[in-house]
């Protein structure tokens, strides 16, 4: 019971951090001449005010959750994957290529294959920095960032080149693909924009939880993250597991990209930037995962929260004339506050551990006596 309460309080830390960030947001709204209550009210209204709003929130949460699951795996093994944006793009490109190549094939075959292809493409794009880290000791933070830029240029090249919509060739040459066959649309769940992807993502969250906490490989990944040196001493091939976790991390981002294409956009267009396709989900997924305490199941509600913030931001912009970019800034603050409050959580854990040890010692001396 006591443990339960303790872990509940631990879980509440990110919530406090978010409240702090929202408080800063309220001050910023005031400074910008808007009423914070109106602003946040509009935000809530926009995110949850109608069935459509709920659906949009869930749709926005889906890529955050998928990317976040990958982040859980990577960060748990002690490697930092900042390449979610590029991995999403590569997953999207691989999956859309398949759908565009076989427009008359049955959806039941193409859609699963396309999602798998996205998963694999993301895995490759995440695996390369993993390999470079294991083999050449290249800092993965930097290499994943570089891989993002390369992926964007690759996308621009393909959308201007082989993947361009044939109708665009004679006309304005807007770098966009044709629409995928409607037979490939991920099934809608209710008559909203909500698609099957969210169910898939939630299901995968449970799978990743099982993987990390109930399998040997998952255990080793976490062990490497907790103490690289002890793990090596215990005979775990540390480098191998760091590559694996970056690879899996990339795979989930790649899947996020594929789901985004088959569930939401059904075609790809580029404005030359990564965010033009991803909506910065590759970064916001990190925020969601951190908020969920790097726990796959915790990442589910966290993704919904940030999905809601992103959807509600537009409504807030309409109601208060404060640009939706405020939410990006607040997301940054949430990250900062969450990682900063980590020290207090660790102190609590340490204090509990010491208390526990003393109790054991007391017990031991009693039985001796």
């Amino acid at each position: 019971m006591r443990n339960y309460v303790n872990s509940l309080i631990d879980g509440l830390f990110p919530l406090f951090a978010t409240l702090a960030a929202l408080a800063v947001g309220a001050v910023m709204l005031l400074l910008l001449g808007a009423n914070p209550l109106v602003g946040f009210g509009a935000l809530l209204q926009g995110a949850f005010g109608s069935p459509n709003a709920w659906a949009d929130t869930a749709v926005k949460a889906t890529p955050l959750l998928l990317v976040g699951l990958g982040i859980c795996i990577a960060f748990r093994s002690g490697v930092i994957n900042i390449g979610g944006e590029g991995q999403m793009i590569m997953g999207a490109l691989a999956s859309i290529s398949l759908g565009l190549s076989f427009p008359s094939a049955p959806g039941i075959i193409i859609v699963p294959l396309a999602l798998i292809l996205g998963f694999v493409a993301g895995a490759i794009w995440g695996g390369i920095p993993g390999f470079l880290k294991a083999r050449f000791n290249v800092n993965e933070i930097l290499s994943t960032i570089m891989m993002n830029v390369i992926a964007v240029q690759f996308m621009n090249m393909l959308l201007r080149g082989v993947l361009i919509d044939q109708n665009q060739l004679g006309a304005a040459k807007i770098p966009q693909t044709a629409r995928l066959s409607t037979a490939f649309d991920l099934p809608r769940l209710v008559p909203t924009r909500l698609h099957l992807g969210i169910l898939l993502a939630v299901l995968l969250a449970f799978l990743v939880y099982y993987f990390l906490w109930r399998t040997t490989v998952g255990y080793k990944i976490r062990a490497v993250g907790l103490n690289r040196f002890a793990s090596r001493y215990a005979g775990i091939k540390v480098e191998q597991y760091m590559v694996l976790s970056l690879l899996l991390s990339g795979a989930f981002s790649g899947l996020a990209g594929a789901v985004q294409v088959y569930g939401v956009t059904h075609f790809m267009i580029t404005d030359g930037t990564a965010a033009g396709f991803t909506g910065s989900a590759g970064f916001n997924g990190i925020v969601a995962a951190l908020f969920g305490q790097l726990h796959p199941l915790g990442t589910i509600p966290a993704s919904f929260l940030f999905g809601a913030l992103l959807v509600g931001a537009n409504q807030m912009q309409r109601a208060t004339q404060v640009p939706a970019a405020l939410i990006t800034a607040l997301n940054g603050l949430v990250v900062v506050f969450v990682v900063s409050s980590e020290i207090y959580r660790q102190q609590r854990v340490r204090r509990r551990a010491i208390a526990e040890m003393k109790k054991q010692e007391a017990l031991a001396s009693q039985t001796k006596g």
Binding site: F136, I141, L142, N156, I286, V322, L333, S340
Partner: protein, 310 residues
């Protein structure tokens, strides 16, 4: 076509614009070098640059006072650096992740302020080119080296200064000691936290200037995400340069020359897809990281928060 490419005009153009384009990388990377030598990895450089770029742009847009714009950018950058120092030194937060938070904050905040306060494509009159007397008249050399704006000259001046401070002064020794072995430095009476606060704040000031060099000297505009990840490249250049200012400068120059080359390749219509050309500097950076990771040794305490064990 290739002959045209190797004409002197083009070569001079590439060299001159390479030297000019290296400016923001230099400020950001040199600032980051100082912080990293003291053991703090600040991944928020790009966000700080964006805030610096916007504030400089806005001040110049309103007042047309370039130096006031520069100073405001330095202050804004310094404050964000101070915040990063507080997060990483006092709060002992994981630096790789909190830097992303600082980045997102700067990205969103600069966009927010821009939309709220300007919300138009506006240009400003940036720092003018200064032709250094006599030197700028030397054929070729003058055009390449001595016809730039003041921020370009200052950036290159900064390199030996920072190198000197790091390697030849007591304070530099303290910075390096804190970055290599904070426990030992602490025992000898060096205030680890203070040193790190100073280096990260100074790094923030430099990032602010880096942003300003874009918005009021090189491009003279501001738009959402003006830097497009330039700050992250600057961090990579620190690794490339093995944490030594002179080598960091060499890296910035190589990167910028390749970038300038890439622009000229497109201008001249040489049949390489432009997207591949844009990719080149980044591919090169990865390759260089692979090569340099073998030999360079990073500060031992890099990205490790220091806690007195009690």
């Amino acid at each position: 076509m290739l002959q045209e490419f190797f004409s002197t005009t083009v070569l001079i153009g590439i060299l001159a614009s390479g030297i000019r384009l290296a400016t923001p990388y230099l400020y950001a990377a040199i600032g980051e070098t100082i912080g990293q030598r003291s053991g703090v990895l600040n991944l928020g450089v790009d966000g700080i640059m964006l805030m610096g770029a916007f504030s400089a742009f806005y001040v110049v847009f309103r007042t047309e006072n370039l130096f006031l714009g520069l100073i405001v950018a330095m202050i804004v950058g310094g404050l964000m650096g101070l915040a990063m120092a507080f997060i990483s030194v006092t709060m002992h937060a994981e630096q790789g992740i909190s830097g992303i938070g600082v980045y997102l904050f700067g990205l969103g905040m600069s966009d927010l302020l821009f939309q709220k306060l300007v919300n138009n494509v506006e240009t400003v009159q940036g720092f003018p080119e200064i032709h250094i007397r006599y030197l700028s008249d030397i054929p070729y050399i003058g055009e390449i080296f001595f016809q730039h704006n003041i921020l370009v000259y200052l950036a290159y001046l900064l390199v030996p200064i920072v190198g000197f401070i790091l390697n030849k002064t007591t304070f530099g020794l303290k910075i390096r000691a804190v970055g290599e072995n904070p426990q030992a430095a602490d025992t000898l009476g060096v205030n680890v936290a203070l040193v790190r606060y100073i280096t990260v704040t100074v790094g923030g000031v430099f990032s602010g200037i880096a942003g300003a060099s874009l918005s009021i000297a090189l491009l003279n505009v501001f738009q959402q995400n003006l830097t497009t990840g330039l700050g992250f490249i600057a961090i990579a250049l620190v690794y490339f340069g093995g944490w030594r200012p002179l080598y960091v400068m060499a890296g910035s120059l190589i990167f910028s020359f390749v970038n300038a080359l890439q622009v000229w390749v497109q201008v001249l219509g040489i049949p390489i897809p432009s997207d591949i050309a844009v990719m080149m500097p980044y591919l090169l950076t990865i390759i260089v990281l692979v090569l340099s990771a073998q030999r360079a040794r990073q500060p031992s305490a890099l990205s490790k928060p220091y806690m007195r064990s009690g």
